[in-house]
Subunit: 223 residues, 6 copies
């Protein structure tokens, strides 16, 4: 039951780059408020923002063997996404694995578990979004799988799906929807630019979005 799927489809890099510009909050809205990982997934340092094609890992609790297996499957520009098969905060990943992943062109790690050596990772500018920072070591005894569908921090992630991550958290875009979502996200940003200017000038959302009538209908009273 433990498999490594070697050939996966990826989204067009140009589309991935467009999604990176849009950021997590906008992309998640653009695709109908879906795809967010749980709010406990936090970056180990502020300011990173990326989009990348996913190589997924399903790993046993406290066992990081499959990370070594997954690194071989990376293509330049991919991101690793790991979900443990039962909840675990152990530190699956540190500076040695990051060195190896970087050498294979990896752009970062999303892990519904722990990470360690975070001072080194920060210095290396290797971004990680994780459930925990925990120095607890792992073993290499039990198999898992690479590039199978996983549920990571509450979201379904398939290999080849696009991950968007920034200081707001992490969002997954289904491979086949990436281009359409990028277009919608860009349209949102364009529309927001105009609104941002009007709001900055002191105009109210109540007026820009024509909310007053509907508020009155619903029964809001000003006293």
């Amino acid at each position: 039951m433990s498999v490594v799927v070697q050939n996966i489809e990826r989204a067009d890099q140009a589309v991935i780059d467009r999604l990176a510009v849009c950021g997590v909050a906008t992309v998640h809205e653009a695709q109908g408020r879906k795809g967010l990982l749980a709010s406990y997934m936090r970056p180990i340092y502020s300011g990173a923002r990326l989009a990348a094609s996913t190589v997924t890992i399903s790993a046993p609790p406290g066992d990081n063997w499959m990370l070594h297996v997954a690194i071989e499957q990376l293509s330049d520009g991919d991101i690793l996404v790991l979900a443990p098969t039962s909840p675990c905060e152990d530190g699956y990943f540190g500076d040695l694995l990051a060195t190896s992943a970087l050498a294979r062109g990896c752009k970062g790690l999303i892990i519904d578990a722990g990470v360690r050596d975070v001072a080194d990772l920060t210095e290396m500018k290797f971004p990680v979004w994780s459930k925990a920072v925990f120095a607890q070591g792992t073993v290499k005894e039990t198999l898992g799988s690479v590039n199978v569908p996983i549920v990571c921090a509450g979201a379904l992630v398939n290999p080849g799906d696009v991950i968007i991550a920034d200081d707001d958290g992490v969002c997954v875009v289904v491979l086949g929807e990436a281009e359409a979502v990028a277009a919608k996200a860009e349209a949102r940003i364009a529309a927001e630019d105009d609104k941002r200017k009007r709001l900055a000038a002191g105009e109210l959302g109540l007026d820009i979005y024509k909310m007053r009538e509907r508020l009155a209908e619903k029964g809001l009273k000003y006293v």
Copy 2:
């Protein structure tokens, strides 16, 4: 049952400014160890410190409509304080609302829920203390209220109460007690200055506060 209270009393700005200087820990002590919001209320970036008069918001879970309504009620120097009517971590507030709030003179946001666009908010220097950072979007379907009493992160907040917030968290001072609390807080700081010098010189708290006798009475044994 959904109301917007338009005219609220505020504390004297000079008193608010004095409280800002004192900081959360001192103000909370000065008023008899009360008024703290729960420890899970954390700033989105370090180093912000402020005091401000509150405009309160009671909002349904996952619905940020009342934020638009509340922004119209802001006076220059106010802070928004939002409590959901049931626990929620959705991202009620982002950079567009912050732009609008800033244009109305708003000094920040205290929210017992989630916030998003935190990289933008940090760059704008718009401080937020929140329960979560979460990109999850909200709807505009259900009414709430503005400037009614709320319980936010375990503390009762009335409109016009003064909020003090810094890296230690958030504290609320009842409007009618603001001046007296400011005076007590300032007295604490003055008294602490002297003690800080003596402690820095190596004198022990055991001696400065004359604790040795009482420790012996209670039965402490040195072995």
Copy 3:
């Protein structure tokens, strides 16, 4: 039952300094993956790394009296380690106590509870690893003990044990094992240096650690 043990044994300072260089993740591995405090123990600011001999404190919930007692027991280079007798997030420690502790040569605080005045502590470069940041004040009414064995954040800590702390968390090394652990940790670092170079050059962990055969034996399928 409340005691202050005045004369405790400490590890050799040279050994402590060697452990500081190695860091939490390496030391914890070197001693057989033991000694870590829970992952919720987080530094109040990034970048601190230290090792120090411990002065332990057992304190009642919401009562910081024993911190004053413990500060007198500090030798130059020690660290304070506090465990409440029942779970508590109150702010036991702030800038005045830090001033006093610094004057006695204290290198930091590990506390399975809350800390406050974190902006001041950060400016003073007084590192703290804590369960919470919380301005909630404490009283001085009930005795505890100093330099007795405690369980802090899930780990047994004896007075004189060596604490290692950095951005990955906190680890305790038993006094009598400090020298042997330092040697093992240094050996790990030396071994890792070689591997880091090979990994950075693009060699795979699968090959460096000769994992391929064992993976096949366990039944991993490549598809």
Copy 4:
């Protein structure tokens, strides 16, 4: 700052009894979806249901002295409601205090902290809704207050307010609104009885509540 308010107003016993019949979910709806304590407040045994007038207690963490003070303030049919001044799970209350409270006519305890001797309390049929079951003992060193406003598990409770508690949790009804809320709650129950019969007969809520048109307007698609 520590006070015991001796004479408090109470709701009419007949109104309290009517609220007891309605139960938590119905009462909370009847008063506009407000007044619920947090969902972590759970009964120590199933099947208890009551309404009672509150005697409130504000107590320091890990200190149950004020419970003794509060018991003297009980009138027949009251319930004790305790909030610690900072979060605490210690076991403030056990079978001796329950014996004393029962002798004064007390109907139960709501405590945003811990309780112990739960096997005895269950046998005595003394109902408790608490945040935790924890044997951890407390001291009697620091004052608190009795019959002052408190925030308990996220809800504001004033002395004399009516508490409704059952297997669904705990709800507070403001003293001055008790009669009106009882009337509304009874009306809800009457209305529900008819609907329950129709639903039991297989009629759909979609039809009883005439939802189909509004669902279509909002854009729901059947595929």
Copy 5:
């Protein structure tokens, strides 16, 4: 984007019944240790055990409108499985909805949110596994979907998948694998019966499973 899928495939009832006999722990093992919902999903009363075909619901936070829509889609013997689109503990479901669901042949509810009227539901013997018991009411303002894939308490659930639930929690079996899993689960039970007898007679697992040699190889020392 809000849809109701009306015709879904279901597993053979005979297979579902066989899975019910096996229980959660065995079924989850039989399918390779997968499919479990998070451990926080607990039954409202002890002793219920069932298997059923799922009707899935994706619902906004604090909005139970889609439950009414879903009930119309129930076939006799189905179970409702609801996941909110962002984390929520509100009480989406109570005795009226249970009455309606029962009238349509519904066998229970799995909800990654709150439930209320649990005393009534217990009396009705309507089993629910939920994240919380909470009386908090919901609105009917925003659409969701019925019979779409959802992630519920960390597990992917497709409409028509088989849910197994008992006092150990909840497990999902993919529709297409139900028969094979039932066969494997039954084989496990048969194998366990023999082992249970030998263990009850005092034979050791060390001997039955022939573990001694492998333990020695791995280096276990008896001292």
Copy 6:
């Protein structure tokens, strides 16, 4: 580093039996408010109460191999106490292991992790206090140790220490202190019997414990 200590000292059975009668809350008080495991350790069914000599297990996350090893080390009347080496909620123990443990005279299990087959365990009257109920399976790949000191749910437990467990939770008594603690606990019970009668007769704790004067000294005001 993985060892099984085969010969451990145990407390006198008569002393253990005396402790069982006293219960967790009383024993914990009698030994100076120490020894409690964390409040999240809950019984899988109500009403069990026991005291027993401990066989300790240190086990890797998600690996229950050492349970088989530990069962061989049981003497009649012992209890198993398991702590994972990093936090884990997997179901390490179910009805087969319970059958085996019962056959060796085991009185129950304390586990800072998960347990499964709880319906069966309840029927067998095999008591378990655990952190979680979770069907998640485990592997048998990595060694741990038996009868070494462990920290379980925040408390230090040595092999041969006495565990007391009931509906209030779990308490550990150090082997060498068991007899003295039993005597003190019995004295407490005797003293409480008198107080219980007086309290039941309506006398107040304020008078029995002569608290009025000290309350007045501390400054309590009756208004």
